[in-house]
Symmetry: C2
Subunit: 223 residues, 2 copies
Amino acid sequence: MATKDVIVLADLLGTNKKIASDIRTELERRGILAVNLLSSPGAGKTSLLEQIAVRLRDTAKMAVIEGDIETERDAERIRARGVPAWQITTGGACHLEAKMIARVLPQVPPESEFLFIENVGNLVCPASYELGERLRFVLLSTPEGDDKPKKYPKAFTTSDVLVLTKVDLLPYLPFDLEKVKAEALELNPRLQIFVTSAVTGQGLDELIAFLWRARRDLTARHA
Amino acid sequence: MATKDVIVLADLLGTNKKIASDIRTELERRGILAVNLLSSPGAGKTSLLEQIAVRLRDTAKMAVIEGDIETERDAERIRARGVPAWQITTGGACHLEAKMIARVLPQVPPESEFLFIENVGNLVCPASYELGERLRFVLLSTPEGDDKPKKYPKAFTTSDVLVLTKVDLLPYLPFDLEKVKAEALELNPRLQIFVTSAVTGQGLDELIAFLWRARRDLTARHA
């Protein structure tokens, strides 16, 4: 990259960080736990959110912001579970940016306890853009292969939680669960790891319990 | 995006297009059929190339350029099949650019008949950068889901060939093969579609036959 391009990129990232910081402050003041979900296309972000919606809807207020290049499909899937959802279509851009979240935020019900932001399906670019989240989740599905953390390190080094998805397919795949956990923890020792399947429900109760603990920590800090 | 950023991006794309055009001219003059492979991480690009290597190595000279953010793993897998391979690690960049290919090109044996370029695993950014290829392949693996063409249209509208991979997993997945074919063809009616599995070998002979026909067309045109 030429120096000029590097400066433009640094400008963009700096501006994004500032907006993200304002969003984070506002959300934490309101007691809303915001989670930014990153993964490759088709790793199961929307399916995971559908399962979280089913498990939270009677006990909590949640909202979802969906990011996609095109189509309203993911927001429609979430709304079908009775959860308010807003679709951001980036029209080509490979990631969400904080200013896109800032535009939707006034519509998020102030009494929400959880706000999930599903990023564009991309294991590279979204890792460079904070959106004001308190927690970043990276999802890795078993069919993608157990070599992904070292090949796409930034998504793993910048995340708080690794959700391994589609583990119901393990009998049919060459995927070494222990190897991928070890490699991910080598990159980022503070990663919390959940082993899940949206089909069988494996690991989802543990994930829900984790989310409630994280929200309690957030509100205790801002009480 | 601010106007300044749009201009910088247009500059980058224009420069890339010029370099790609020079590469294309040079490769076609030499009779080398170049294929640029795009897909999400873990859709099976390297596995497909391993299977092509096994099927071509006794009858053709092929070479592979591997693009990744980090690690030499993919080039090592290809070399293990007896095929010359060069690894480009982008160190964070989400796609290959033509200038990266231009740097490696002098090392590609001039008598090669096929050059495969495996792009960074990303269904978004690589679609905007020509690398001097004659054919662009987009791979979509069945676990990613049948909604991907409309959600990530550019990879499908700019490709010549759609390779559906991992169809051996179809019995375990909610994936509608006919729906995805129809949606992909709606976006790009000239797409050639191959239904494949690197595990069972399904569809690979047809793909090899297609590659030979494409190379024959190339050399006939430049004879």
